[in-house]
Each structure stands twice: as C-alpha cells, then as structure tokens.
C-alpha cells in the first residue's frame, strides 16, 4: 500500500446554519491521483479550502503525513508540503512568470527575513523556479509578464508556482477550467507526469479527464460523500449514475 499523505476524518464546515461539507473522510496516497467530483455546490471547493487551511473546519480532523494539522493556518500547512492551485487563476499578474515561481520557491527558505542580499542572487531558489517552470512546460515563457500569458499558460503557471514550493501533496481545484481541447490534453499529460512523484487531490468537472487520470474517485453531493472507490466501480454505481453522471454525460 502506498504511503498515506493526506487523511481526513469527518470533515465538516457550516456556514451559518448551512452545512457546506459534512462528515467527509478521504485519503490521498503517494503516486496516486484521487479525484473529487460532484455537481456545482456539492462543497468541493469548501473541502479544498479546509485542506489548505484557507478555511477552518467546523469539526473533523485533517492529517498530513500522519500529523494532525486541523486548524493550522494556510502558511503552516503549505510548509508541511502541501501545494494548492485555485479554481480562478490566482497568479501575480504584474510579475513575470519567473518571478511568480521564484517567489513561490523563496517560500521554502527557512525565512525571508533577509534585508541586504539581492533576492535574485539566491541560486538555489532560482534553480527551483526554473525547474518548476520547465516541469509545467513554461520554460520558454519565463520572462513574460503573467498578465500577457494566455489563459492556458496562466493555468500552467498556477501549477508551476505550486510545484516551486516542492510539495508532496497537490490540491488542484479545477486545473482544466476554461481550457480548449489542446490545452486540456497537455494539462492531462502534465498531471500524469506529476502523479508519479506526488499525491494529488483533484477537483474537476471534465469527466473524460477524470476517468483517464484518477486512481480513486469520490463523488460528493450536497456536502456529503455519495460514493468512493475505483473509477470502474463508480462508473457502474447506479446511485452515482442517477445523482450525477447521468445528467452531466449527455
């Protein structure tokens, strides 16, 4: 059995009286891609926000590498080897692609409370940034300002920044959103490569991509887990068919 990188138990989040996520328990393993699917409003983004520390859970526990990280702040969780990407592209638009990744890589230093040494001279950080750009297929665009990149390239940059923080666990929130067929294909290829060296939790709407990539699938409806298992089993699950797959697969 591959190493368990992420494990949650009964993760729950209420907004006022409304339960956006309730009682979600799941795991992510090294070298495997665990996809979370479900209709809009199923609580997938809330789930990721709790895993990354952007949102504290109302109850339940999150463990990374066996350590309880429930309630830790986003920056602390990031430093435990968790990298996340956002549904809406969330890069520093005014910076170059390289500087986006350089800053991300700089976060892995013990501290950035260094005041007198030029940041561009941190060779280790520069190398990390270059590697991350290359891994995400952006090595040709290092000098371009992020706002000048195409939508697909910005999505790649989003992943590259995450990689530059050298995470073990990747939390990817709809990396294929808004992409054309060609861009999607290259992103799928990238994810296939990344899963070899990472544990990935993927939230995605593109069912073809999900079934191509996932080693394990969790279906969420109304904040709860409807079914969880191997892709083939999920595809055959009548309940899932009815609740979700049937409608979205016209």
């Amino acid at each position: 059995m591959p190493e368990v990188v992420l494990a949650t138990q009964g993760l729950t989040r209420h907004f006022g009286g409304l339960a956006a996520v309730s009682g979600v328990s799941l795991e992510a393993h090294m070298g495997q891609l665990h996809a979370v699917i479900g209709p809009n409003g199923a609580g997938k983004s809330t789930l990721i926000n709790m895993l990354s520390g952007d949102l504290p859970p109302t109850s339940g526990r999150v463990a990374i590498n066996g350590c309880d990280v429930t309630g830790l702040a986003a920056h602390q969780i990031s430093r435990m080897g968790v990298g996340r990407s956002y549904q809406k592209t969330n890069v520093f638009l005014a910076f170059t692609a390289f500087e986006n990744c350089r800053l991300a890589a700089q976060s892995r230093r013990k501290t950035s409370m260094q005041f007198f040494r030029p940041a561009v001279n941190l060779t280790e950080v520069n190398r990390s940034a270059e590697e991350a750009l290359a891994a995400a297929g952006l090595d040709g665009r290092a000098g371009s300002v992020a706002s000048a990149l195409s939508h697909g390239e910005q999505r790649q940059l989003e992943i590259a920044m995450t990689l530059a923080t050298r995470p073990k666990l990747l939390l990817l929130d709809e990396p294929l959103a808004g992409m054309g067929a060609e861009e999607s294909a290259s992103m799928v290829a990238l994810l296939k490569k990344l899963v070899e060296t990472h544990a990935i939790l993927l939230v995605e709407h593109d069912m073809d991509a999900v079934f191509e990539l996932a080693d394990r699938l969790t279906v969420m409806v109304d904040g709860q887990v409807l079914a969880s298992g191997a892709p083939a089993a999920i595809r055959a699950n009548a309940e899932v068919q009815e609740a979700y797959l049937g409608e979205s697969h016209e």
Binding site: S52, G53, R79, S112, M113, F115, A119, T165
Partner: protein, 332 residues
C-alpha cells in the same frame, strides 16, 4: 520611467543640492533641508503604501515620537548628545511602531486606515491635552544636540549648513537602504503581499510577520525624519503627530506616484513648493488669499485625488508614451 533612470536623475539632483550652500541664501538652504526631510518621511511611507499595500493614515505618530524623544532627552539649557539621543529616538519610534503595528496590522482595508489614524490621534491628544512636554504649545529644544567624539566635533548642529549636509547624508542613506531592502528576499515578499496577500499565505509566507516588520522599518525611518526636523527647527509640538501631517505625507506619496520611491520625493518637493506658494498669495481687495491657503490646498487635494491616480510620475510616463506613439505613427 525605469528605476535606473530614476536613480540617475536622483544622483544628479543630490549632487546639485550638495552645491547649494555655496551660493544659496540661508532661507533656501533651510528650505532644501526641510524638503529632504520630508522626502525621507515620504519614502518611509511609500514602503508601506506603495510596496506593502498598507494604507497608514497615522504615519506622523512615528515622526513625532522621535522628535519628542529628543525633546525629553534634552536637559534644560544644556545639549543632548547626538550619538546617544539619535539611536534612542529612532529606537523609540521603532518600538512604538512595533506596539501599534501589533494591533493594526491584523486589520485590512478600511479598518487599517481608521485604526492607524485612531492610534496616531490618541498620541496626538496625549501630548496635546496633558502637560507632558509643554502640552499643546509644544516644547523648544533650546540647545541643539552636540556631536562630539572625545574632543573632536565632526559637525556642529547649530550651523545650518552642517544640518543641511547631515540631512543630505541621511537622505542618501535612506534611499539606498530602501532600494537594497526592496531588492532583498524580504522586499520581494512585501511586493507579493501588496499584489495578493492570500496567495502569499497559501505559498507558505506568514504575512503578518512581514507586514509588521515593514511597519517597524517604516516607523524607524519616519523617526529619522522627525529627529532631523526637530534639530533643524528646534521645536517639537503635537502637530508633528497630527493627522494634517499624516495626510500631507500621504498626499506627497500619491502625488509623486506610489511604489516608486522617487515619486514620493518629487511629491514632497511639489507639495512644499505649493505650500510656500499658496501661503504667499497676495491680498485681493479685502480677501487675504494667502491667509486661507488651506482652502486652495484642500481644493488641490480634492482635484489631485480625482485626476491623478498614478501620481506625477505616472502622468509623466503616460505623456511620454503618448508622445512616443505619435512619433511612431507614419505621416499619413
């Protein structure tokens, strides 16, 4: 304008300024010293406003704090020691910034603006309403600090030319220091926080800490400006902590163009020339235009904040672009 072009421009300006005491009258030398002091003050605020995205409306608190420190350290009819009073005054400003920052930096947006102003006004009222250091009249520093090392006195603060050069040296140090800090790993984090704080957190940066340190650095540099101001004018009063000064320095930063470091210096110069010009307006009939200069200044601020979102540097840059475009056009 690139930052290199800025730096070259600034170097020329500094050299030009360094020559002024050789031909200019006392009034102008002192005016330039005051201008440079305001330049230091404005640069310190730019670190927060333009580079970290912290809109502090209480920056005068740290300017005034070091000035009051000198006033309190100066014994009556005697001189304080420059070499001890200067570091102590800066340390007081920095410590105050640390304490106030600890509370205010956890707030965002509009709250930050209000809370910085509220804490600064708290200090203003503390000195204004109580008998500490002369109450609302302020206090004179009768004898300027002495900068003796043993028997040797490298400069004399009673001499306005010496004060001018001291200010000029500090101005250059502060400018270079800020440029170095901004290029450092720390400085890059600040710029990232201004662009998108939440993203910086999810990248693993404990942003509170970085913002707080920026707040302290800016407070300490504001303290340098406050100290220099108090030795130049020999008087310290609550107005040095008041919101009129906080507002004025904010206006200097915006006017010149925030996030450029050079812009705020230009803004400070324009602001002070404007102040001088408006105060010198003549009487027209029974109306004394100069006496009510704040009316014109206020109207100017209203117009400038509507019309100059990127400051004078931004205006200059877009004018240059427009001219460039027209030149580039083929004659049709």
């Amino acid at each position: 304008m690139t930052s290199r072009a800025n730096a070259i421009l600034l170097a020329v300006a500094v050299l030009g300024l360094a020559a002024t005491p050789f031909f200019a009258e006392k009034f102008y030398v002192q005016f330039f010293a005051k201008l440079l002091i305001m330049g230091i003050f404005a640069m310190s605020l730019d670190l927060l406003l333009g580079y970290t995205g912290l809109v502090s409306f209480g920056h005068a608190a740290f300017y005034g704090a070091s000035a009051y420190t000198l006033a309190i350290l100066t014994p009556q009819y005697q001189a304080a020691n420059f070499w001890t009073s200067f570091p102590i005054a800066i340390a007081v400003s920095a410590t105050l910034a640390l304490v106030i920052g600890f509370f205010v930096v956890r707030t965002h947006g509009i709250y930050f603006i209000m809370v910085t102003l509220a804490f600064a006004q708290m200090l203003f009222f503390l000195f204004h309403d109580t008998k500490i250091a002369g109450g609302n009249d302020g206090i004179y520093i009768d004898v300027r600090p002495v900068a003796k090392i043993g028997d040797w006195q490298p400069f004399n603060l009673d001499n306005f030319v010496h004060v001018f050069y001291l200010v000029l040296v500090f101005f250059v140090i502060v400018y270079v220091l800020l440029r170095v800090i901004l290029a450092s790993p720390f400085g890059r984090v600040l710029v990232g926080i201004k662009a998108n704080e939440a993203r910086m957190r999810s990248l693993g940066f404990p942003t509170f800490r970085y913002k707080l340190v920026a707040f302290v650095i800016a407070g300490a540099i504001a303290g340098v400006a406050g100290y220099l101001s108090s030795i130049q004018f020999g008087v310290v009063n609550p107005e040095m902590m008041g919101w009129h000064l906080s507002g004025a320095v904010m206006m200097m930063v915006i006017l010149g163009g925030m996030g450029t470091l050079t812009g705020p210096i230009i803004g400070a110069a324009v602001w002070m020339l404007l102040e001088l010009g408006l105060q010198g307006l003549p009487k027209v009939g029974s109306v004394d235009l100069g006496k009510h200069w704040q009316l014109w200044m206020g109207s100017f601020i209203v117009l400038a904040s509507l019309l100059l979102p990127n400051g004078l540097l931004g205006l200059g840059a877009s004018l240059l672009r427009r001219i460039g475009k027209q030149r580039g056009k083929p004659d049709a």
